[in-house]
């Protein structure tokens, strides 16, 4: 089968690749593009480990065809830290131990960044629904939610208001 040529942007850099028409964006990221930070946990859009952004919108890359990247902007975990340091979410996840095995972490971070870009001052409930598409089996989500709330507060220059009933 003839491969299709795709011209796109990944993490702000121009990228070209060849793919088969049925290949997912995740397969191309992890294969030919060597960007293995996006993970495959299910291949059916249920776990969120492959979360990326397409023109800033949060999507599961396992559900996107690679050919659909033509002319669009893809954002992956590899583009989250800038040259001079980690994104505040990445830093806060480390400080607050919001990861254990780390396999869901890239997807969770991408989803959390997408959430904060839309809603810089989310409630706990908004964070929980914003991350409801990202399965984590290790943490019970507690430290993840706290880290996102703290980061949001820091990025706004405020102090996080932790939910009641919790120290």
């Amino acid at each position: 089968m003839a491969k299709i040529h795709v011209t796109t942007t990944v993490n702000g850099e121009p990228v070209e690749f060849l793919c088969e028409p049925q290949q997912s964006m995740l397969d191309v990221l992890r294969g030919p593009l060597g960007l293995t930070g996006s993970k495959e946990g299910c291949g059916s859009g249920d776990c969120g480990a492959c979360s990326i952004t397409l023109d800033g919108r949060l999507i599961c890359s396992c559900l996107m065809l690679a050919v659909e990247a033509e002319g669009h902007e893809i954002g992956t975990i590899e583009g989250m830290a800038s040259g001079d340091g980690l994104h505040p979410l990445q830093q806060k996840f480390l400080e607050m131990a919001a990861l254990q095995c780390g396999i869901c972490t890239p997807g969770v971070l991408i989803a959390a960044r997408a959430l904060l870009e839309k809603n810089p001052d989310p409630t706990e409930t908004e964070v929980r629904f914003g991350l409801a598409g990202n399965l984590c089996r290790c943490t019970g989500y507690d430290k993840i939610v706290r880290a996102v709330l703290e980061t949001a507060a820091e990025m706004r220059g405020a102090k996080a208001e932790m939910p009641e009933a919790v120290r």
Binding site: T36, G37, C42, C47, Q100, I103, C104, A132, K143, V166
Partner: protein, 749 residues
């Protein structure tokens, strides 16, 4: 080390592997590639139970791009007449689990594997393999497997002299059970069922294997033990262990499910045949159908108490589904259920039952949640019958130092009572549930739990770099932050900043034998070998300083990362720092480093008590957890954040087990919900914050006071949630999960 003067033990330091994990750079097994790599895939049985008459691979082998095919003929067989044990795993069963031999024993059982130049060619090749099956009647549920006319899975299994699906029995006895019940004023007996549930790690099983022309084999894989991978692969392929180097990739969750292998021997044989590196990655569907899960169960528990609230007799019978081959966790179910209590008369019996579903793998405190679910629900009913507060009843009967447990040990200093007292004093237990909105009911439940914990073999090497920093290597895959704790301990012992300590996981060629990451043993055991290694290093550093100062080594102290004379009498010398001593290593005796290998003992049991508030929507049947607090004796929280993380993660898994997770089989014995959409694990919006209260009663047999903390958190939640639902509805559930259809059925029934 257990005093409060610690500088690093107890600190929430940044984990050594953290930056790589938040930037997507950490290498998991599926992220690994090699030049010339090809892809392996597994053909799986479409039947739950069938004789495999023949396998014809000729057409598949002829397909362009196919480089190798393996079948049962390629896997080492083990005669059925005697066990071949590797740890707790019997290789007779492991051989038949990685590849069906005489029969396919479950839907999804591997029948053949191929390696091809692309994933799509490998998939096409699977379709070309012709397998002739003779389909047999199958059996999934325990009751069906125990019927006199049940299809028998294995001709070689006998129970009480007859062919049977019962593969084993275990019994713990203490005191005189009849006399105990005769003494009781209140006796409650109930029967329970739980469904099989999966560990649910987000990373599917994956490996990359390269067998070189000289037979030297390298395995990169996701596992809870690189030495287990090496040993099992050697046994199943016939390669010597010395030819296999097993490299532990970062592991994306395991929870016990990666303490055995599935793909590694297949990829090894495919690589050997093809001469190419072979990569294999399971799909989520394959993970759900053919790996893990833990047992479904049925159990009956009977507890007797005197009017004043003394538990005097307890009897439990636990039947656990092993899956297709023997080995369900009856030891956890029968051993752990009554272990939190001082009960003079106990009989606990477990039965291992085979049936046509995937063979169970360990799942976090294997069997213990099943046992505790039944026991803790009955304890709740005993408290109700006595008119006692359920925590008060537990406290009155709590195991303590000197209690003789039915499963064997006499407890040393333990912190179970402290967990109950902390729960009683906590605002959670003393805050009213509050008014529920219309159509909803609220309730609060409590439950406790115990897990054995484990010691065993560990190795460590502590090396001082030439620039005076530290590299620590241990042999256990880090599944939840153990490297961070090892950095804290090493920094504490050597008196240096934790950032100067690098912690690595060695492979089978670079570190001594280390047993699995399992049994909540990793920090307990590795802290021991790291401590002894660091102490040897400190001894060496003191000797070197003594040599430089020309004084007796006994006259040198190691404090705050420096050698100094113990007193002015020993001599007046400016201190020598680690960096200064490292720089002078060559002249003082050579490289500085030490390794220790031990079979560690003294891992004492762990206990916890959980509080759970729920709100039940009586129209929809949805149970929502409003508040959850865990109280656990953690020994010593070397890195509190990752101890809390274990407690929170275990609670979340337990809530999933209690409320939604279950394997659903169709009439053909196929799993109907083999994916994350229909196998419903808790998502972020399902849960509240999960409060974790760490109680530190140091383990007297450990240099830092460490107790295992990873598994206890999954033991109490099933009953804590069930008891809360009872409190809300006034009706008891004797079956899990309490999913919306079941709740509605119970409400209407």
């Amino acid at each position: 080390m257990n005093d409060m003067t610690n500088k690093w033990i107890g600190q929430r330091t940044i984990r050594p592997d953290g930056a790589e994990k938040v930037t997507g750079r950490a290498a998991y097994a599926a992220d690994t590639t090699m030049p010339g790599m090809i892809w392996g895939k597994v053909l799986r049985s479409p039947h739950a139970h069938a004789v495999i008459r023949s396998i014809d691979t000729a057409k598949a082998e002829a397909l362009p791009g196919v480089k190798a095919v393996v079948t049962r003929a390629d896997i080492v067989d083990f005669p059925l007449d005697k066990p071949v044990m590797l740890g707790i795993q019997d290789m007779r069963w492991m051989s038949r689990n990685v590849m069906a031999r005489e029969k396919a024993l479950f839907h999804g059982h591997p029948v053949a594997a191929v390696a091809a130049t692309s994933e799509s060619i490998a998939a096409e090749a699977l379709r070309l393999i012709e397998v002739e099956y003779e389909v047999l009647p199958h059996v999934i549920e325990i009751d069906d497997a125990l019927r006199p006319d049940a299809p028998i899975l294995h001709d070689f299994l006998r129970f009480e002299g007859k062919p049977s699906n019962i593969a084993g029995k275990l019994e713990h006895k203490l005191g005189n059970i009849e006399a105990g019940f005769a003494e009781a004023d209140v006796v409650i007996e109930r029967s329970f069922t739980t469904r099989p549930v999966h560990q649910g790690y987000i990373e599917p099983h994956a490996c990359l294997v390269s067998v070189a022309a000289d037979g030297k084999t390298t395995i990169w894989s996701s596992s809870q033990g690189q030495f287990m991978v090496r040993a099992m692969t050697a046994l199943l392929t016939g390669l010597p262990q010395s030819d296999i180097r097993a490299i532990p990739a970062e592991i994306g969750g395991g929870f016990g499910g990666k303490t055995i292998i599935y793909l590694e021997p297949l990829a090894t044989l495919l690589s050997k045949k093809s001469g190419r590196p072979v990569k294999m990655v399971m799909s989520r569907e394959e993970v759900m159908r053919a790996s893990g899960p833990t047992s479904g169960s049925k159990s009956t528990v009977k507890i007797g108490a005197t009017r004043d609230g003394r538990l005097v007799a307890a009897q439990g019978t636990f039947w656990l589904q092993a899956g297709a081959l023997p080995g369900s966790p009856i030891r956890g179910a029968a051993g752990c259920g009554f272990a939190p209590y001082t009960i003079p008369n106990v009989v606990a019996t477990g039965f291992d039952v085979v049936s046509n579903r995937s063979k169970v793998a360990a799942y976090r405190a294997p069997g213990a949640p099943i046992g505790a679910y039944a026991v803790e629900c009955v304890i709740d009913e005993v408290a109700e019958a006595l008119g006692m507060d359920p925590l008060e009843l537990r406290l009155k009967n709590a195991a303590r130092q000197g209690t003789k447990a039915a499963h064997g040990p006499v407890y040393p200093r333990i912190g179970f009572m402290e967990t109950i007292e902390a729960a009683q004093a906590h605002p959670h237990y003393n805050t009213p549930l509050g008014e529920a909105p219309a159509g909803r009911l609220r309730g609060r439940g409590v439950a406790s739990g115990f897990w054995f914990n484990a010691g065993g073999e560990s190795s460590a090497q502590v090396n001082i770099t030439e620039d005076g920093n530290v590299v620590v290597t241990t042999g256990h895959p880090d599944i939840g932050g153990s490297r961070a704790s090892i950095a804290n301990i090493t920094a504490e012992l050597l008196g240096i900043d934790y950032k100067r300590v690098s912690v690595l996981i060695g492979d089978t060629a670079t570190i001594g034998y280390s047993n699995l990451t399992g049994g909540s043993r990793v920090l307990f055991a590795s802290a021991m070998v790291v401590t002894q290694s660091a102490e040897k290093v400190i001894t060496s550093l003191k000797e070197r300083a003594a040599k430089i100062w020309k004084i007796d080594p006994e006259a040198v102290a190691w404090e705050n990362g420096e050698a100094r004379p113990v007193s002015e009498n020993a001599g007046r010398f400016p201190p020598l720092s680690l960096a200064e001593l490292a720089a002078r290593a060559t002249e003082t005796g050579g490289p500085i480093g030490a390794g220790v290998q031990l079979n560690t003992t003294g891992a004492e049991g762990g206990f916890a008590t959980h509080l759970c508030d729920v709100e039940v929507d009586v129209d929809l049947g949805i149970v929502r957890v409003l508040r959850y607090t865990s109280f656990q004796d953690v020994g010593r929280a070397v890195h509190p954040s990752y101890v809390e993380g274990q407690m929170q993660g275990g609670a979340a898994q337990g809530i999933g087990w209690a409320l939604n997770e279950e394997y659903i089989y169709d009439r053909q014995g196929r799993v109907e919900n083999a994916g994350f959409l229909d196998y419903r694990m808790p998502v972020c919006s399902d849960l509240p914050m999960l409060d974790a209260v760490m109680i530190e009663v140091p383990n007297p047999k450990h240099p830092q006071g460490v107790r295992g903390v990873g598994e206890v958190p999954l033991v109490p939640p099933l009953a804590a949630v069930a008891n809360a639902v009872h409190d809300a509805l006034g009706k008891r559930f004797y079956a899990l999960p309490m999913s919306p259809p079941r709740v509605l059925e119970r409400l209407e029934g």
